[in-house]
Symmetry: C2
Subunit: 313 residues, 2 copies
DNA sequence: TTGTACGCGTTATCAA
DNA sequence: TTGATAACGCGTACAA
């Protein structure tokens, strides 16, 4: 493995001059540059990136903690992060979470060990307070609304589009609204925002018996519909936390030959387009891009990205 | 930034002993270990990963070159790579291709500069011959059948399931078969395998006028159907290179109020399940996992993963 | 404009 | 069982 010292020795100049040639900066006379470059070319030499990182004290790498599941939140967010990272000259290390808090803590330890310049948490497991103690080792960005806590954050601001959505539902005279939420509203901002917007629009809290938690997939939507039907709950509208999930609902009714209630999804997926029900585009790509800019230090603070209600009319 | 020398100095032992404590190996007496560990804990010291990588001459990082698009080939492949990497203690750097060969070459240069221990190409742009010249810098794995070329490869072996698929189509008495292919069969193995299986089963080459190239999305399927209809080509069956694409086909016929031809997709997507047509599962997760094992050196050679025809009956 | 020498932080070899 | 020191390669004050 030929190194910079070899080039210096063979070309007859010093390592610093060689370094200057490599990095195209400072003063190197043309003849010297030519000679050194000739040796570099001849020996087919390239500098070692790891040594460079060590010397510079910077890796130009951002770690992105995420679940490895095929869901628009992750795929779009990831795409946004990658695109922005490439544009900014950064590399992205995908760090799988597997729903394991200790694993995510391990990534903060890696940040501390200088493996990354910054960390983006697209998951929402580790308490922010715990993250704050690691901020001295590098930037940490979360992808949900951190409330009053002072940490860099990029997230989808769902409130306004949720209000539009529920207003649309109300205007169409639906009243028994089934809500499918990803997690308990007490624990999840998304769920809380949904409930808040519902309450604001309808003037009352959502019907508890019509609210289902933990729906993430098509199959979950299918089960939720089964639940509604077998318990004679008869919602006249179902607001799901995803088009695929809403599609699962529709399929159950179809399979049973029952008239389906009104449906609305989220995330602007193909399935929603096919079935033609309204949806909400949360612009996760933009969220990801914003998160990356926070991670590199190109921006700071809290960046809320507005989502759009799409009535599909 | 406290380093190993600080710990050595303050604890009163040498850096090598401290290193041994850190790495839990070789002989360190219990009292010495305890003392050194106390200093480590007190100063809240952790070793620097970059320095470690430099010293060891290894990064435990695999670069994965891929397109950043929401397609099961990439999402499943990526998931397989990530899962296997985590299990093997490797990190994965996502390297976006953007359809740009020079960019992909850049990643081979990074391999040469020791940024990664190995590279996985999930794309199929750079000629393998060119890759061979970089193999002296680290393992390079491709995700398609490399034919006679001796390079590590993990890929989906589509031939047998394609034959099953066409046999199924033939048995159902379809004869005017429209083929939707991702790329020109002359350039793409997938396309070539499709044509080969078709020819073997039907005893003749596919009808050129019924073959459409470059279909990648739902919208492409929609346009293909439009093409068939507006040119009065009347295929009685359409074999698409993806369930979403086949769904686009179906939607066009539906929108026009026309009877749809028979349909078959690939990749076992939700859309195909909804519409109930047959599909082929290429097991891209397994392909990704195999690719990673090749990249780490846990395996070598060419690994073909068999795909499964799913009739959905 | 060029060179010297040290710092970056760790691992590994070999001697003691 | 412990220690001294040489790698690992590169960047960069500072001197010349």
């Amino acid at each position: 493995m030929t190194n910079i010292r070899d080039i210096a020795r063979i070309s007859g100049f010093s390592v610093s001059t060689v370094s200057r040639v490599l990095n195209h900066k400072n003063y190197v006379s043309t003849p010297v540059r030519t000679k050194i470059q000739a040796v570099i070319d001849k020996l087919d030499y390239v500098p070692n990136d790891v040594a460079r990182d060590l010397s510079r004290g910077k890796t130009m790498t951002i770690g992105a903690v995420m679940l490895n599941i095929d869901h628009p939140y992750y795929t779009d967010l990831s795409a946004g992060i990658m695109t922005a990272a490439f544009a900014a000259g950064y590399n992205v290390m995908q760090l799988p979470s597997n729903y394991d808090n200790d694993q995510e803590r391990g990534y903060m330890e890696q940040l501390r060990r200088k493996a990354y310049d910054a960390l983006i948490f697209t998951t929402h497991n580790i308490p922010i307070e715990e993250m704050l103690t690691y901020r001295r080792y590098g930037r940490i960005v979360v992808c949900h609304d951190p409330g009053d806590i002072d940490i860099d954050a990029a997230y989808s601001e769902r409130g306004p589009s949720y209000e539009q959505a529920f207003t649309w539902i109300k205007r169409h005279d639906y009243r028994r609204i089934g809500l499918l939420l990803p997690r308990d509203p007490a624990l999840s901002a998304t769920g809380a925002e949904t409930v808040h917007a519902y309450t604001k629009v309808f003037g009352e809290k959502p019907n508890g018996s019509l609210t289902r938690l933990g729906t993430m997939t098509y199959a979950d939507g299918y089960s939720a519909a089964e639940y509604y039907v077998s318990n004679n709950l008869n919602p006249d509208f179902i607001f799901a936390n995803g088009d695929d999930i809403a599609t699962g609902v529709a399929q159950y009714y179809k399979d049973r030959g029952l008239p389906a209630p009104g449906l609305m999804g989220q995330d602007k997926q193909l399935s929603g387009q096919l079935l033609g029900f309204p949806t909400i585009d949360h612009h996760y790509r933009d969220v990801g891009a914003a998160a990356l800019r926070l991670a590199t230090g190109a921006a700071s603070g809290q960046v809320g990205i507005h989502s759009d209600f799409i009535s599909r009319r």
